[in-house]
């Protein structure tokens, strides 16, 4: 019985910790901007004061944990330095990168069958402007800009918003 009580105590303490964990997760996920709450058109109109700077900041907090400064990490994380431009410049690459960020997966149609290739966490809950800013940041950082075609047009929030409906 003495040990039963200690057993109960450890379950109680573990439960308190789990409740704290769930509470934190709930509070933090609530703080997300709700994509449903703001109409896409309105979101697209959100002004971006300095796309370059906000892209860098967004990249730092959202992406750098895994992608660092664009370098590869093992086989599962390819180098954004290089690969990003390669994808961007291939056919359909511009849209592919947006879809990839929104879905974290890419739709492929083979023999009429729709299949999804899971490969990346989804950032679909982020505002359009933030996704556009992150993509632009990635394309001009770590020497990627030197590889880009000169006439490249930056991503825009409305472009991202448009992909949300197309997919």
């Amino acid at each position: 019985m003495r040990y039963t009580r200690i057993g109960l105590a450890s379950y109680a303490i573990a439960s308190v910790l789990v409740v704290a964990v769930v509470g934190v997760a709930w509070a933090r996920s609530r703080a997300l901007p709700d994509p449903e709450a703001t109409p896409a058109a309105e979101r697209a109109a959100e002004p971006i004061v300095d796309a370059q700077e906000s892209g860098a900041a967004a990249y730092q907090s959202e992406c750098s944990g895994c992608h660092g400064e664009g370098q590869a990490r093992g086989r599962s994380i390819p180098a954004l330095r290089g690969v990003a431009v390669e994808l961007f410049t291939s056919e359909g690459g511009r849209e592919y990168l947006i879809d990839f960020m929104l879905d974290g997966r890419v739709r492929s149609v083979e023999d009429g069958e729709v299949a999804y290739v899971e490969s990346h966490p989804s950032y679909g809950e982020r505002p359009d402007a933030r996704i556009a800013a992150i993509l632009d940041h990635m394309l001009v950082s770590w020497g990627n800009d030197a590889l880009l075609p000169a006439e490249r047009r930056p991503y825009s929030a409305s472009e991202v918003a448009a992909r949300r409906t197309v997919r």
């Binding site: 019985m1 003495r2 308190v16 704290a20 964990v21 996920s29 703080a31 997300l32």
Partner: protein, 438 residues
């Protein structure tokens, strides 16, 4: 009795400390919120790190921490919460993978970066800890080897988990957060450095020598030690000490033994030791004069910590040791309170310290009831286990201010505690201590 206010305070402190890494992670600047499952996974990881580091405080033998509960209960808690912590830590990646299977790529130690690798290795170390502890005996891992593995895997788990957090860096991307978390982990790991390196150094300055190793009945020895160059040790009867016999102060071979001699004698202390395998099998061959380091006294199983008008002792096997110490002490103090002893053993010729108990019956108001698993020809006493029939008459005899002291194998203590409670003995009047800590 449980000093419940201190106990509650310590439990509160424990919970707060367990949440420190999470609080540091969430302190601004914080990355923007993300999906629920992702945040849940991160929070689980941080709480896992908090718990993991706290385990070092539990095992560091701080008397202030263990006294309100009893050190065996602290160890029991360590064992239970350790398992729960590993489950929390396992949930940390599993939540992510269940939510988005692509995250499974992080688990590949060959392909993924060092952050992932450190996380995977930390988890492996923790699972290893639990497996080796739960199945130490079936795995035929000796106590010593287990202790070494436990300490090394524990330190490795905290270090790797901390590395995982630092390298992932999403929530600790400022220098002060890195610094605070690393200092926090290092402080707890430092406790084991204190326990294994600094404390032995202090103990080595107050060494003891083996004065005698006296055989009692088959398989039981009385280890007698005397202080070497100091005036000995004050302890409460029923307490125990960790002994390091004849090794370097920094060796890991160390065993908890209950004092069996009178607490009134500070300069010659004895321990009743039963050959149970491992180190205790060789106790009879320890030469006189061998140096002994004594870490103690520990434990709250003592008649000195309980106000009582009558005392009922219930011992199983070598659980008699701490009770013998209490009886010797009470005899030296010429205590006149009524004392009763129920002593369960396998066989009469394996019943240790019989002659000492006989002498004590002459000096105290003590009556002993022996219960043998296996009686022999001419044995008129009780056989089998300690039952309600054995205990009821003794409980009827002592009704005023009775305190029960129970020490024996786990299974016996569980059964006897149940009988006592069924007979109306309040739980607060039953003191227990288990002697197999692992």
């Amino acid at each position: 009795m449980l000093h419940w206010r201190t106990g509650l305070l310590l439990v509160g402190l424990y919970v707060v400390l367990a949440l420190v890494p999470l609080a540091v992670g969430l302190a601004p600047p914080t990355p923007s919120g993300r999906a629920f499952w992702l945040e849940l996974s991160v929070a689980l990881g941080f709480v896992g790190l908090g718990q993991l580091a706290l385990q070092f405080a539990l095992i560091a033998r701080f008397r202030r921490i263990s006294e309100p509960f009893g050190i065996d209960l602290v160890m029991q808690y360590h064992r239970q919460i350790g398992i729960l912590t590993v489950l929390l830590v396992l949930a940390h990646p599993l939540v992510l993978i269940a939510w988005r299977p692509a995250y499974a790529a992080m688990l590949n130690p060959v392909a993924d970066g060092w952050a992932g690798r450190a996380g995977v290795l930390a988890t492996v170390a923790m699972v290893g800890l639990v497996v080796l502890s739960l199945w130490r005996r079936p795995l035929r891992l000796g106590y010593e080897a287990w202790r070494v593995s436990h300490a090394l895997l524990g330190v490795a788990a905290v270090a790797l988990a901390q590395l995982h957090v630092s390298l992932t860096g999403l929530y600790v991307d400022t220098p002060w957060k890195h610094a605070v978390l690393m200092a926090w982990s290092a402080a707890f790991v430092g406790l084991i450095v204190y326990l294994r390196l600094l404390k032995p150094f202090r103990l080595a300055r107050r060494p003891w020598r083996v004065a005698d190793v006296r055989p009692d009945v088959a398989g039981t020895w009385n280890l007698v030690i005397e202080p070497d160059g100091h005036d000995g040790l004050a302890f409460a009867p029923g307490q125990f000490a960790w002994l390091k016999i004849g090794r370097s102060p920094w060796g890991l071979e160390e065993h908890p033994f209950s004092f069996s001699s009178s607490a009134e004698q500070h300069a010659r202390v004895e321990f009743g030791i039963k050959e149970l395998g491992d180190f205790t099998a060789d106790i009879g061959r320890v030469p006189v004069g061998t140096r002994v380091l004594l870490d103690g006294p520990h434990g709250s199983f003592s008649c000195d910590f309980q106000a009582a008008d009558s005392l009922l002792f219930i011992a199983g096997g070598i659980g008699i040791s701490p009770i013998l110490s209490m009886l010797h002490t009470l005899a030296d103090r010429e205590d006149r309170r009524p004392l009763r002893l129920v002593y369960a053993c396998s066989r009469w010729d394996r019943t240790a310290f019989r002659s000492e108990l006989e002498t004590l019956e002459g000096r105290l108001d003590l009556r002993s009831v022996y219960v043998l698993e296996e009686g022999h020809e001419g044995w008129t006493g009780a056989t089998g286990y300690v039952t309600r029939e054995v205990l009821a008459p003794l409980l009827a005899e002592q009704t005023v201010g009775r305190q029960v002291f129970l020490c024996g194998p786990d299974a016996m203590m569980m059964v006897v505690e149940r009988i006592l409670v069924d007979c109306g003995v309040p739980r607060s009047r039953i003191a227990m201590e288990r002697f197999y800590l692992v």
